[in-house]
Symmetry: C2
């Protein structure tokens, strides 16, 4: 049942209008384990539907982010990258040699940060950790 209908439902359930462009973009983002930027998405989308414009990709990402369906990753310089909102909380590790972006699973970090925020008199809303590292 991995079918385009799934993505349409995803949009519908989020209270968003279902358009072919949005469906295409959501399906691309759902089916990759990369963390593509707008240009990546635009090029891939273009191959499936040559009417898609960059402006729409930008607008769609913004709409999806506000709806809580995707997460925007802003790493130093470089254009923003995106991932479908993870159901399992995770952070990121950048391989400084290859530039690869790897996900760090687990709630260990979140648990610590929760406590750290509390100790500073704050309630944690969200967090993001980026580790730059090199393969051993």
């Amino acid at each position: 049942m991995t079918h385009s209908v799934d993505y349409k439902q995803l949009l519908r359930e989020a209270g968003l209008r279902v358009t072919p462009q949005r469906t295409t973009i959501v399906s691309l983002l759902s089916e990759t384990d990369d963390h593509p930027n707008v240009e990546d998405l635009y090029e891939k989308a273009r191959r499936l539907d040559d009417t898609v414009s960059v402006a729409t990709v930008y607008r769609t990402m913004s709409v999806l982010e506000n709806a809580g369906l995707v997460r925007k990753l802003v790493l130093d310089d470089a254009p923003a990258r995106y991932e479908m909102m993870p159901h399992t909380d995770h952070d990121h590790l950048v391989d400084v040699d290859s530039g690869d972006l790897v996900e760090i699973p687990g709630t260990e970090i979140a648990t610590l940060l929760d406590r750290v925020a509390a100790e500073m008199g704050y309630e944690l809303v969200s967090h993001h950790t980026v580790i730059r590292a090199r393969k051993l």
Copy 2:
């Protein structure tokens, strides 16, 4: 002995040329506990030396960052902010209501991340955690 000479020495010891513009910028950045962006620095610098240009502020920040004297903070959207390279390792907390940027002291987070990276087969090079939170 908090004197402009200190900042000149800082530059000299880093192997950089000492210019009035750089001295001004380093002193401004050293004496604030804000995390100013280029525009902030440009305006402040202007008041002390009206020959400073934005281009120079950008170029200086880049040079200082490469020399390891300052840290560049890229938070979602919004222009990059800067701080003198901290001798004590710390992360950041953004107050989602006020926009304030607070430093999170301590090595607790670093220790955990070191271990996490190792468990994934990586050697940690650097890390940065940003917590978005709300006052309790």
